[in-house]
């Protein structure tokens, strides 16, 4: 990453992404500065998850043109794990189960991979304990297999636990709020807010403004048919709630 404080954390320019030959993102532009939290809203199928997968580098998502610049560097050539090691984190909408892989083992490997150095067990344990407390997760979680037989809410809490352990520079939260009851939503929001800092940035992807009551964004963008059609402040989320996406569809047309 560049040392210059005014370098944006993320700069997406004219991004076109196809999945299985079908174009989903059609020239998307987005700049996220350090210390900022951006919300991306849009209905199902608008391209929200495609954007997060493309930033993370999932090979199933093909970038046909445009660039993704992270910390001043074009990351097109970086594999998924290299992006993660550079500080990008994606909280998945549908986290994958890893049967037989315990949460504690997985976290240890992830922390070691991202830090590039083993964390002594003495330092690792209290760190886990502290984060479990923030997320209101019982200790018994640690010996369970990653996402295997987890409820929707448990999966999202585990995603947040991974985020807190990895302390990413750019955290992308893909519908982390969906399927959460109000208590879980508050816990998850606390985790996200706790990570906000001058050097970090967050991209909260959602189709409800519900989570934005707890995580106040600096900027709100509306994604429609693969492009950002409107950007604004936190008030935009409220307007959307009031008028629905159709209001913007008319505008766009």
């Amino acid at each position: 990453m560049s040392d210059e404080t005014n370098t944006p954390v993320l700069e997406v320019s004219d991004l076109h992404v196809s999945v299985g030959g079908k174009e989903i993102l059609k020239g998307l532009n987005l700049t996220v500065g350090a210390g900022e939290t951006h919300a991306i809203m849009g209905r199902n199928g608008s391209g929200k998850s495609t954007l997060s997968a493309a930033i993370m580098g999932n090979p199933r998502y093909e970038i046909t043109s445009g660039t993704i610049v992270y910390g001043g560097q074009d990351i097109a050539e970086l594999a998924v794990h290299e992006r993660a090691r550079a500080g990008v984190f994606l909280s998945f909408q549908y986290p994958v189960a890893l049967p037989g892989v315990s949460v504690v083992n997985f976290l240890r490997q992830a922390v070691r991979a991202v830090r590039g150095d083993d964390v002594p067990i003495k330092a690792f344990r209290p760190l886990v304990k502290e984060n479990l407390k923030i997320l209101d997760i019982p200790q018994t979680f640690m010996t369970r297999y990653v996402n295997d037989g987890f409820s929707g809410g448990e999966k999202k809490r585990l995603e947040m636990l991974q985020m807190l352990m990895l302390q990413p520079t750019l955290a992308i939260l893909d519908e982390t709020d969906s399927g959460l009851d109000i208590d879980a939503l508050k816990v998850v929001s606390t985790a996200i807010n706790g990570l906000r800092s001058e050097k970090r940035a967050q991209l909260v992807i959602t189709h409800y403004q519900r989570i934005l009551q707890y995580v106040t964004p600096d900027h709100v963008h509306v994604l429609l048919d693969g492009q950002i059609v409107k950007s604004g402040g936190p008030d935009l989320a409220h307007e959307l709630e009031k008028h629905g996406y159709e209001w913007l569809e008319k505008d766009a047309a």
């Binding site: 090691r85 892989v101 997985f106 991202v114 990895l166």
Partner: protein
Amino acid sequence: MSTDHMNVDAGPETSLRDVVTTRGGNDPAWLATARQDALSAYEASSLPDRVQHLWRYTDPQRFLPGERTPTTPDSHFGDLPADCQDATYEHVAGYALARDGRVLRSALDPLIADKKVVLTDLCTAAREHEDLVRPRLFSLLDAGGDKFEQLSAATFAGGTFFHVPRNVTIDRPFVVAHRVGGDGLIASRSLLVAGEGSEATIVFDLTSVGDDDAPLRHEGLEIHVEPGARLHVAFVQACGKRVTHAPVIRCRVERDAALETVSVALGGALVKSLQTTELVGKGSDVRVLGIVFANGRQHIDHHTLQDHVIGRNTSNLDYRTVVADRARSSYTGNLRIGLDGVGADAHQSNHNMLLSKKARADTIPELEILTNDVTCSHAAACGPIDEEMITFCQSRGISPRDARTLIVTGFLEPIVERVPGQQLRERVRSAVADRLDRVV
């Protein structure tokens, strides 16, 4: 078919008869006669029919002794495995050291020996504990006479005899460490008996002396779990890559008894394993667990049968296979619920992970249900590692190679963690890790 192979085997068959007579010379008369009968049955039987599932994927010819002659067991075991050095019996209840089919030495925690637990060589037991051995030995052999089972019954050099008396409960495992060498025929017979209401764990740790040793190993085991007993047995086979191994395991589980077997197959060039379990009483619980991890050109074939002769009991089978390089695994399994099997609750599952395009896994789980009112299921799957799992791990900074290792280890772990004895379990884990290091 039988005539053909009899001609091929004409020479060595003569020497087999000599060996059977010699080995029977130290046995009580009833056992010497049983050996001769088994040899006659072996000679009279034809090779197994390859149309049947049992031998569909593996050529039985390769298990005939041919030019090989029975190996005279070496009397030297070599370095002791770590768990057999536990002089204070803190982690193990006792151990036996076996070479080439014969138990050379055994030792028990004196407190456990006081409870009349027996762990010794089968031939010794036949002389010293006729009352325990004679009524049970060979009683579970396939009446139809599995050819190779008859071969081990005729020519066995020895084997493990393990008996836990009624109502004796032992919390630590017994370990049988067995090394095989040379390139001859190594035959053994073992008999395990968990007496009524008893509880015990025994682990078989099978290795070969050197990587170049290439014996043909015919091993027969009979396991009796008497009413209300609980027995946990593990077989960890980590022989060299030139060994041919053909275990036949026959289990009989009586009412309210529990048997859990865990089989780990890592070694051998060619392995053909058969395990059958008869549930002959109500209230029993059987778990048949296994992993296979093959690479190079290994060929590993497992067949299992859980036979609910009587119902109102449960059986669960879980076999997991990982094949890499050009290795091949075949799994065929049958779940049979007999006419009196009402209320049986029986499940079997076989999952296979393919780590290369040239690796191959076959799986055929079958159900044979002769009565109503039972709960049965079977599941089988074959495929490569799910790419989404790898991407998920990568998104947490883990390299694709480390991700594959993590996923395969996790796939096997629920079975590995059922291997009793911490040292053996850790050895299995590190053997799996070593192999993964070479193949992912």
